[in-house]
């Protein structure tokens, strides 16, 4: 950043020590570079103007938001790339440093070994927890299947029972009806027989019913 704790009268021509002058020059150089960048981007921006005039208010708002989102995405991509570059630079610097120093006795190596151990542990625990979750999932699936099977079996049993009951009822009814019918018929026959016997008795006795009750 800008606030470097320099006294503000640096712009004046004084017998400045070379370091102050150098810092000033470097700072001015950075400034000029940044300003040049701004002008360049302005020129580029005005070159690619797409004049879609007279948009509605809502459309303009939406377009502005889209453009803002684009800016954010570009920024994020840039930051990621910078991060990746920094990482690569860091790793090469580290590598060179390690090659220079005695690799066995540095604290850095101990740290790195510890880091590796911890990472392995982490990965193993991850794997274990993943396996356990898979097992849990399997058990749950099996339980669900069993439940469904038992449900269907019970349903079957119930339907069978119902059918049996229905059949029995029908059969009973028909049985009863047949029995009743048979009885009835027998009674009718008996009554008919008795009637005939009576009639024959009366005819055989040759008595006159009307005179002698």
């Amino acid at each position: 950043g800008g606030g470097e704790g320099e006294p503000p009268q640096v712009a004046g021509a004084q017998a400045a020590r070379p370091e102050d002058r150098l810092t000033l020059l470097l700072r001015l150089r950075a400034q000029t570079k940044q300003q040049l960048l701004e002008y360049k981007s302005m020129v580029d921006a005005t070159e690619e103007k797409s004049p879609e005039q007279i948009l509605q208010d809502k459309q303009v708002e939406a377009k502005i938001e889209d453009l803002e989102n684009e800016i954010e995405e570009v920024k994020i991509a840039f930051e990621m790339k910078k991060l990746a570059l920094d990482r690569m630079q860091l790793s090469t610097a580290l590598k060179k440093n390690l090659e220079k120093n005695n690799p066995r006795t540095s604290v850095l190596m101990d740290n790195m070994k510890h880091i590796l151990k911890l990472n392995k542990l982490i990965m193993k625990s991850h794997q274990e927890s993943w396996d356990l979750e898979e097992k849990l999932l399997d058990v749950r699936k099996k339980r669900l299947q069993l439940k469904q099977a038992s449900e269907s079996k019970l349903l079957e049993i119930q339907t069978e029972k119902n059918k049996q009951k229905d059949d029995l009822a029908v059969m009973e009814n028909s049985d009863k009806i047949k029995a009743i019918q048979q009885n009835l018929q027998m009674e009718i026959q008996i009554t008919t027989v008795i009637q005939h016997v009576f009639q024959n008795l009366i005819l055989g006795s040759k008595a006159n019913w009307a005179e002698d009750p």
Binding site: G1, G2, G3, E4, G5, E6, P8, V10, A11, R27, L28, A30, Q31, K33, Q34, Q35, L37, E38, Y39, S41, M42, I64, E68, I71, E72, K75
Partner: protein
């Protein structure tokens, strides 16, 4: 009809210029003094104006940042700012314009509602700062913020541009209840 355009002149070496537009002269003067007192590596120049357009006969340096100062106690200052906004080129609003609302501390005296200024800032997609310059404790941090913004808008901070700053500041104005 002179319209203010950014980047229309060459920048002065190590110089950053801010333009404060507002109706309250004393207030602007106070702000200007606080800003100039700040310890800053670049040379600061503060221009004060009541309203735009600025008289075109002066030879003035390139303006890096415009701050419109609205006093929440007076509707006139709001109207003045709205009028002056028309004399600013659209490219200025890519991070080189800001709004400063003063007097929000005394709710009873506020004739301009806070949401009006908020909506104004959102329409112009520019950052909104609040300040109560009578209270000394507020003035210094606001001046520091303004100085920092000015440095960035003038291109004195390598790696950060005005647009960059704008999108950084934007994240704090996330959808309020009014939008939903």
């Amino acid at each position: 009809m002179s319209v203010l355009r950014p980047l229309d002149k060459q920048p002065g070496l190590n110089t950053a210029t801010i333009l404060l537009v507002g109706t309250e002269d004393a207030l602007l003067q106070q702000l200007a003094d606080s800003m100039l007192k700040e310890d800053c590596a670049s040379e600061l120049k503060v221009h004060l104006a009541r309203s735009l357009p600025l008289p075109s006969n002066m030879n003035r340096p390139r303006i890096d940042l415009i701050m419109f100062v609205v006093n929440l106690h007076s509707k006139y200052s709001l109207r003045n700012v709205e009028e002056s906004l028309r004399h600013v080129d659209a490219t200025f609003f890519l991070g080189k314009v800001g709004f400063l609302a003063t007097g929000a501390g005394r709710e009873s005296h506020c004739s301009v509602h806070r949401s009006t200024v908020v909506r104004l800032a959102r329409t112009y997609r520019s950052p909104l700062l609040f300040c109560d310059p009578e209270v000394d404790g507020f003035r210094v941090p606001v001046a520091q913020r303004l100085v920092r913004m000015l440095q960035i808008c003038a291109g004195h901070v390598p790696g950060v541009s005005a647009l960059n700053l704008l999108s950084l500041l934007r994240s704090s104005e996330n959808p309020t209840l009014e939008d939903l």
